[in-house]
């Protein structure tokens, strides 16, 4: 059953958290390509990787053990430590 909580804040912010702002440029940033382990996801990400590297951008590759579960904490921490933005290959 859905639980209802009362907002403890001054309610000057939207009720849902805003995602971090999208950077206006990728220059100088490290990009994570996250393969969620769906079939052929790697094919798609290989192509994205190639295009990004052609632009002279730094790309690191990561892979979840299984798409069925949320990413392991170690993987999330590794990405957070090494990268500035993440491109994730979702769904089929």
């Amino acid at each position: 059953m859905t639980q209802i909580l009362l907002d403890p804040s001054g309610e000057l912010d939207p009720p849902q958290r805003e995602p971090l702002p999208i950077p206006s440029t990728l220059d100088g940033l490290t990009i994570a390509l996250l393969d969620i382990s769906k079939t052929k996801g790697d094919v798609f990400l290989d192509r994205v990787d190639m295009h990004l590297q052609e632009e002279g951008l730094r790309v690191l590759r990561f892979k979840k053990p299984t798409f069925a579960r949320t990413a392991p904490v170690e993987l999330l921490q590794k990405i957070a430590q090494q990268c500035d933005v993440v491109i994730e290959g979702l769904a089929d």
Binding site: M1, L5, L6
Partner: protein, 475 residues
């Protein structure tokens, strides 16, 4: 009241008295009396034709039933009479049936109504009583852990919070007679309106009992008083944060600690009242570390720093010094850093102990600094008894401390009178370490230990920054 005219009985099968009166109710029905029976736990009990299922307790709540069985007589849509429990004479009088229950004992008190069981009044008030909140309702999916959710929303000080459900907030608001809509002030840094309801939501999260709410409200009122300068105190790079000191009869009423480990952990009221104030600043005001809160180090008291004063001493209390009589309860907020211990196991005269304390207080902010932060000294019981035995009042001790804290100008060294290095004019003068009124003494602590606790506050004091604020606790 939207109820049928005639008789209303409210019963539950789990109550032996209700089971006992089942034949009485049958007699009433057979006698043609207009009878409606609400049953709280079993729709087929009692064996009558006019039994209404009240398992959701809606009718029990609206009829304000506290005990079952209860028999009510309604006429013209208004309640005219009510009998609680089984009282043969009363049931006979109200029904006009003289032989009613003649084979039963004359009196049985009945059982508690399910509608007043633990946690039920809040649930029922929310469901059927029109209880209303102004705060946004946030849905948390059943797949999420609500405590983890509170962390993720950024509401926490780093420790787990009690999720502020509507039932909990309703129960919390019952801790005060004041309206949840009442505005206490504007919480910095965003200057958001701070209502009693918002304070209650944060008090729930902090782990307060409802009876602590009036103390939290008073602490928030004091902290939001412009004299306290909460905005600056939050934003400063210095260590300080609000410290809450409670005086008056409410200390005992809610079970606060002013004895052993008084400045430490382990007492729910001390811990959660101070934490609730911090959470109000964090959540209502949006004051978070490394954002508006620019403190270089902070201090552990920024989780919570609240205690009660020992008033069983010859000295006046902190609140009495502010003009409140001992019969009134009050909360004082004071800017405070960490605690510096002062040990003196040798002094046998007050003059000697004052000298010890003064020497230790000289180091506040910097040993060479004068016009330093205001300071609270918590005099421990063993040190206090030395002053009491010699008949020294609080005022005498404060004056002696000021006298013992005149710093020769030539000692100012790296930090001058105004913090600007050597001030040649001051070399031959003696300068007060603390401003007038800048030393405050309170009494608290465990029986053993010839110690006192020195607690300095924010560098910016008085009209330039923060002054202590005392507010009466209003239930």
């Amino acid at each position: 009241m939207n109820v049928p005219d005639g008789f209303i009985a409210v019963v539950k099968r789990d109550c032996p008295t209700c089971v006992m009166v089942e034949p009485v109710l049958q007699t009433m029905e057979e006698g043609g009396l207009p009878l409606t029976v609400y049953t709280q736990d079993d729709p087929v009990f009692p064996a009558l034709s006019a039994v209404i299922d009240d398992i959701d307790l809606k009718h029990s709540f609206r009829l304000e039933i506290e005990t079952v069985p209860t028999l009510i007589y309604v006429s013209g849509q208004r309640e005219r009479d009510r009998v609680i429990g089984w009282d043969r004479d009363e049931w006979q009088r109200i029904t006009g049936l003289t032989g009613l229950g003649r084979d039963l004992p004359p009196l049985r008190p009945g059982c508690g109504s399910l509608s007043v069981g633990p946690g039920m009044p809040e649930k029922l008030a929310l469901r059927f009583g029109g209880a209303h909140f102004s705060s946004r309702r946030i849905e948390v999916s059943e797949l999420e852990d609500e405590i983890e959710y509170c962390f993720e929303r950024g509401w926490s000080d780093g420790l787990p919070l009690v999720p502020p459900t509507e039932e909990r907030v309703y129960r919390m608001l019952n801790g005060t007679k004041r309206s949840g809509d009442e505005i206490l002030g504007f919480a910095p840094p965003v200057q958001a309106q701070c209502t009693i309801e918002k304070v209650a939501v944060n008090a729930v999260m902090a782990g307060c009992k409802p009876e602590y709410l009036p103390l939290v409200i008073a602490a928030v009122e004091a902290a939001l008083d412009p004299v306290f300068c909460m905005h600056g105190l939050l934003a400063t790079t210095w260590f300080s944060s609000p410290m809450v000191i409670v005086n008056g009869p409410i200390r005992k009423a809610v079970g606060m600690n002013w004895r052993g480990n008084v400045l430490g952990q382990g007492n729910r009221a001390n811990a959660t009242i101070g934490r609730a104030l911090q959470l109000v600043i964090r959540n209502v005001g949006g004051g978070r570390p490394q954002e508006a809160d620019q403190s270089t180090f902070g201090n552990p008291g920024k989780f919570t720093f609240c205690f009660a004063e020992d008033e069983d001493t010859p000295w006046t209390s902190l609140a009495e010094d502010q003009g409140f009589s001992a019969e009134r309860s009050a909360v004082t907020v004071i800017s405070a850093d960490g605690v510096q211990g002062c040990i003196d196991q040798r002094s046998r005269e007050p003059e000697s102990l004052v000298a010890s304390l003064a020497q230790s207080m000289r180091t506040i902010n910097h040993v060479d600094m004068v016009n330093a932060s205001d300071v609270v000294v918590v005099i421990g019981p063993e040190h206090g008894r030395l002053f009491d035995g010699a008949g020294w009042t609080k005022l005498q001790v404060v004056e002696a401390l000021h006298d013992g804290l005149l710093v020769p100008g030539r000692d100012l060294g790296m930090i001058g009178e105004n913090g600007n290095g050597n001030d040649l004019d001051a070399v031959d003068r003696k300068l007060p370490k603390f401003r007038s009124g800048g030393i405050r003494l309170v009494r608290a602590g465990g029986d053993a230990g010839l110690f006192s606790a020195i607690i300095p506050g924010w560098l910016m004091k008085g009209s330039l920054g923060s002054d202590p604020v005392t507010k009466e606790i209003v239930l």
